[in-house]
Symmetry: C2
């Protein structure tokens, strides 16, 4: 009877080997036109000195709360800070293979975050060695974090297709060109400016005009651009599909 063993085990955790639960966070942001991920340097064994995704043990809180708390600690932002509240966080998946942590069985619930430009993590505190790293240079991470990061990147690329979450990388007001730069950075390819513009404005609820414009043109010239804010759509319909990836389909 499985149900019975469930009952007993629940009151006798020692009957099963101990398991620890952590959250690890893949927080992405865009800096200088390139996609960056927040990494910390491990101060202790195992993987001492290696880069790793920020994370920590789950306390008496929901998983989402644990993720947001860890994010606040690692970025050095106060929990109440506005910039932190604007970070989009969603659960990515759970990694729990035996042996992924050499010390004991650790289940890691990974979260994926989209952050607008944030300051460098402040020195001191938990995040002494945290920093933003271009995703192309984030390799050979501790534990199975290479896999977690890869899964997070793929999820992020897909999410930009059918949700308006690209706006989460930007401030409250943004131009279509800035939004296009987000897509280009996440997808790693240039997009046709005219078609992107047409598409974004044609999807209901993606963006809405603020009525204003930038106060000056771009750094290298060009006219002032109109400003938009995120619309009320939760899904893009029709979706904004990545350029042909037939090669990757099989």
């Amino acid at each position: 009877m499985r149900a019975e063993s469930t009952f007993l085990a629940a009151y006798d955790p020692a009957g099963y080997p101990p398991v620890a639960v952590t959250v690890d966070i893949v927080v992405l942001t865009i800096r200088d036109g390139a996609l960056h991920v927040l990494l910390v340097e491990r101060a202790e064994h195992p993987y001492r000195g290696r880069s790793a995704l920020p994370g920590g043990f789950v306390r008496d809180e929901t998983l989402a709360e644990a993720a947001r708390r860890e994010l606040a600690e690692e970025t050095g932002l106060c929990p109440g800070e506005a910039a932190l509240a604007r970070v989009h966080l969603e659960q990515l998946r759970t990694y729990g293979d035996p042996g992924r942590d050499p010390r004991m069985r650790v289940m890691s619930v990974a979260y994926l975050g989209f952050a607008p430009s944030l300051p460098d993590p402040r020195a001191g505190g938990d995040a002494a060695t945290a920093g933003w790293v271009p995703v192309d240079e984030a390799r050979e991470l501790a534990f199975d974090h290479d896999t977690v990061l890869a899964d997070g990147l793929e999820r992020a690329r897909a999410k930009l297709e059918y949700t308006p979450l690209g706006t989460a990388f930007l401030g409250a007001e943004f131009t279509i060109g800035e939004l296009r730069a987000v897509y280009a950075a996440v997808w790693g390819e240039q997009l046709h400016a005219g078609n992107f513009h047409r598409k974004v404005l044609s999807v209901p609820g993606f963006v809405e005009s603020t009525g204003g414009t930038t106060s000056r043109g771009g750094e290298r010239g060009g006219p002032r651009a109109r400003l938009y804010r995120a619309g009320d759509a939760a899904l893009l319909h029709p979706a904004l599909l990545r350029p042909t990836r037939e090669e990757q389909v099989r």
Copy 2:
């Protein structure tokens, strides 16, 4: 130093409240043209007598192995059985809010499964009270399983749009009409037969012809249909989108 506390906690699990890890499975199949989910009746408190998703504690195995083992136990199929191997299983998400299980902190890693027609779970053994229930009638489940099921259904509906996993509900060979019936059951709406047929055959790698046909027409008449097997595509490109759901977008 978070890294230090991590290190210590890992060697002293008693320093944190105990956590149990389970897998729960949303296995879907199609019977009589309607989408069904496998449920078990709980024999013990809490939620004694209520229906619940099948699941159990994770042992010294990967999460995916735990999910497949539980599936085998609850369906009463031998682990080596061919029908079981053809069930597609993927991780759905993890539910771990404090209080979701009144006994202790339980993290449940939910898996989503697509199964071809399987026999009724055999009586006796673990699955004494397991059975297939139409998803419309699966309500008021134990724990937070209503939410888990709802998340699983939404994931399944989305997966049919951009992956060929609809074929996982069918046998090794199937007709386009049977595949259309899968989509109709999962999406809960009728599809235009001609357009569906055109679309399925035009997406590269979705299905490939076996060269054969059914040995007789449909139960209510009609010509013999050509037989197909699943193709080698991992993603449908372009996707097979659900009929307008603009209402659900916001």
